[in-house]
Structures are given as C-alpha cells and as structure tokens.
C-alpha cells in the first residue's frame, strides 16, 4: 500500500509539473496538489473497485448510535485518546471513501471546509454532512473494533443472538 501511495504522489507531482500553468494562485498550491493527487487515486480505484471488500456501514452506525443513545459506561473521549495510530488507520479503512476522505482532509491535513469542497469537487454543504457522518462512522468503527477485541457483544450481535439470526444485516455498500 505504501508503494502505491508513493507511486500516486510521484504521478501527481508529474502532472502538477506538466500543468503548472493552471495554478493561478500560489496560496492555493496545497489544495491544488491534493486535487491532482485525488484524481490520480480515483483513477486507480476505478480499476480496483471490484476487488474491494464491502463494508457494512449499518454495523458502524449501530455501534455509534448505541454510544450516543445511552448513558453507557464508555467515556468515548478516553477511548479516542488512547487509540494507537494503527487503530486509527484501521478505523479509517472501514469507512466508505467519501466519508473517510473529508475527515482526513480536515482533521489530519488541516484543510478548511471550503478548501475540501474544492479538492473533492463537491458543494460545501456536502462536505459538512460528510464530515458529520464520517466522524460518526469512525466512532462506530472504533467501538466495533473495541467490542470485537474485548469480546463484548455489539448491539447487533445481541439482537442477532436473540433472534437467532446470522448476524449479517444488510448495508453493504459499493
């Protein structure tokens, strides 16, 4: 994966070099480069999309809903603060690209919403809703991973056990 990332950066730098005339405002150079990088990445994804693993976002939403709906004993802030880098990346990997990308661009890369709108090519309202939903899903992914390692049954698993179901609800995307 790292090699792919490096290839993408090299490709994006090459395209930036060829298209330098398109850069009108130097203050926007970072966002401009990210936009090029994203188009490189999306071309790669178009071809590899079929190989991609389907992610059940229903499960992530349920884990998150359970957290905010109850008084619960989980102090999420402490859970989040203790996450290792590996756990953060694993959680981000669980998210659909549309959501993970905007959260990464904002929270990790430090872009403002209007810059993200430009990089991703969506209206700012879409950036807002994707960041809101993206962080919800991310919290869900963190909690789902946590309950998987501590062997605590998730809400879905408890329900499935009660109903005698297989534990695979729908919600697969892409």
């Amino acid at each position: 994966m790292r090699a792919d990332a490096e290839d993408a950066v090299q490709e994006a730098c090459g395209r930036a070099w060829l298209g330098l005339d398109e850069l009108r405002e130097t203050a926007k150079v970072r966002a401009w480069l990210y936009r090029i990088l994203r188009s490189v990445l999306s071309e790669g994804e178009e071809r590899s999309a079929r190989r991609r693993q389907l992610v059940s976002i229903t499960r992530l939403e349920e884990a998150h809903d359970e957290l905010v709906a109850s008084d619960g004993d989980i102090v999420f802030e402490e859970v989040a603060a203790r996450l290792t880098g590996e756990e953060v990346r694993a959680a981000l990997q669980q998210l659909p690209d549309d959501f993970a990308t905007v959260v990464e661009l904002h929270d990790i890369d430090g872009f403002k919403y209007h810059e993200i709108a430009e990089i991703v090519g969506v209206p700012i309202g879409t950036v807002m809703s994707r960041i809101s939903r993206g962080r919800r899903l991310l919290a869900g992914a963190v909690l789902a991973a946590r309950s998987a390692t501590t062997k605590e049954p998730s809400a879905q698993e408890r329900r499935s056990a009660r109903w005698g179901g297989s534990g695979t609800t729908g919600g697969g995307i892409r």
Binding site: Q10, C13, R30, G134
Partner: protein
C-alpha cells in the same frame, strides 16, 4: 438516528411540536461536525446552540466529534522517505517538455490518501525546484520583481550583507566549504560549471536566520551566492509566485543585480555588480550542471 431526548421526562410537548423538533434534529445532526469545527454561519450556530440545550443525544454526539477530531489532529505525519523525493525529482527531470502530457497510469489499491497526501506535502518543494531546472536550463526565464527589492525582507537583507562584505576582504576561504556545510541544517549546492571559481565560503546571519555565503570569481567579477533555508526562501509571495511560474526571480537595486531560485530543501540567491540578465547566464549554467549531476548514475 431517529430518537432524541425530550427537554425533561414527562414534559407536555404536543405531537406537532415533537414532530417539528424531530425534523429539526434530523437536519441539525448533519451539521454537528461543522458546528464543532466552527465552520457554520452565526445564525446556524445559534440555532444549534438552542437545540443542544434540549437534546442530550446531540450533546453526546458533539462530544464524539470533539474527541475524534482531537485524536486525529495528533496523528503524526508519515514522512516521505528521501528516496521518494529523489525518485520524483529524477522522473520529472528526465521527462521531456511535453507536447501532450505523457501520463503513466499507476496501479493503486484502496485509498492510500493519508500516506500519499502526507508525502505530497514533502514532495512539493521538489516539484518547484525541478520545474526551475527545466525552465532555467532551457529558457532561463526571468520574473522581474515589480517592486523595489527593499520591500522583500530576504532581498533587502542580502543586498545589505553583500554591500557590507564587498567593502572589505572576504571573510572566509574556499577550503571552509565542508565546515560551512555541516554548520547549517539545509543542503548547500555550490554553483557548477567551468566559468566560475569558488573563492571562499562562510556562514552569516540574515535577518536572524542562518545563511551560507559562497563567493566566486566570474570573469573579472565577484559573485556571491547566498543559500538560505526553504522556509526563509518561500516566505515572501514574490518568490513563491516566481517559482510557481517556473522562473528565476530577478531584481536590481543600484549597481547590484539579484536572481533567486529554489534548490532541494533550500533557496539560492546570486548577487553581483551585474544586471540580472548577466547573472542568469551563470545561474543557467549552474542549474544545468546540477541537472547533469542529478541524472548521473
């Protein structure tokens, strides 16, 4: 995401109010991220302030946003390895000036954006300097500064230092180059080519930041090369603009001419009692020599 907590247990809200509140909740919940990030207009912010008072669920959700953002915000950057930077510089340097962009497709797995984006930031400067290598060597276009050099702190400092230095004996010797190299945190690329001869090297202070000065003889002139950190070099928009345009920044003040371009992780300024157009000849040769050295096996 369909339930919400009423103002107080047993409150006597009628069904219509409850429905209106529920629909407001559904709209506002998708704005909570932007609320946490202070990206909303004041009117919407006040609306959410009011909603949060009565909605414990949204308050918990807001806490999740803050916690998640705080954790991601301290995720340390993944450094781009030096090999990647070199690979990019080499690939760009060896690409011919395109008629139509020759784009190689790369095979990519799922969303390596985090890795790639971080590496991208580090690679940016490499692109800038490589662009200059191309332009400098083949067209050597100058971007004349539209204002007086005294309005650009770096140029002002270089001019003042140059005038101070040339009024006396040079403060260093050529053999000091290695010592000078190890004294600063950025790489030094001396001018290449046969037309210039290194006379002396020393470190100095430019506006409170370290700089290296290399003195050369070119024909019957003394030319000074100031090398500063990348950060210092790109501080002023005039230099960033020149780099973005793929040009050498050119300025003159009285008898002195200056040209400037970025190098790997640093910036170079040439100054002499010569017009910038003459300095460009030396600069182009240096850039060509640098390119040849980089593409050598």
């Amino acid at each position: 995401m369909t339930d919400w907590t009423p103002l107080a247990p047993g409150s006597t809200e009628d069904p219509a109010e409850r429905a209106a509140r529920e629909s407001q909740h559904q709209v506002l919940i998708d704005l909570l991220g932007a609320y946490a990030d202070r990206e909303l207009p004041p009117e919407t912010t006040s609306q959410i302030d009011a909603h949060l008072i009565g909605c414990v669920r949204c308050r918990r959700e807001l806490a999740v946003h803050h916690a998640m953002r705080r954790r991601l915000g301290v995720e340390p950057p993944i450094a781009a390895p030096p090999a990647l930077r070199e690979r990019i510089a080499a690939a760009i340097a060896s690409t011919p000036v395109p008629v139509s962009p020759p784009i190689t497709r790369v095979s990519l797995l799922r969303r390596p954006l985090v890795l790639a984006a971080l590496a991208m930031t580090v690679a940016v400067a490499g692109v800038g300097s490589t662009v200059l290598v191309r332009h400098g060597a083949e067209t050597a276009a100058l971007a004349p500064l539209s204002t007086s050099p005294s309005t650009v702190p770096l140029l002002r400092d270089v001019l003042a230092d140059y005038r101070r230095v040339v009024a006396a004996d040079l403060p260093g010797r050529a053999r000091d180059l290695d010592a000078v190299r190890s004294a600063v945190p950025f790489p030094i690329e001396p001018l290449g080519g046969t037309a210039v001869r290194l006379l002396a090297a020393w470190t100095t202070d430019l506006g409170g930041e370290p700089a290296v000065v290399l003195a050369y003889r070119w024909d019957d002139r003394i030319v000074l090369q100031y090398v500063v950190s990348e950060q210092r070099f790109f501080q002023h928009p005039a230099l960033r603009q020149a780099v973005a345009d793929g040009r050498l920044l050119a300025a003159h003040d009285g008898a002195q001419g200056i040209i400037a371009w970025p190098t790997a992780s640093a910036g170079t300024l040439l100054i002499a009692d010569l017009p910038p157009e003459r300095l460009r000849v030396i600069g182009s040769e240096a850039l060509l020599a640098g390119k040849a050295a980089r593409s050598a096996p």
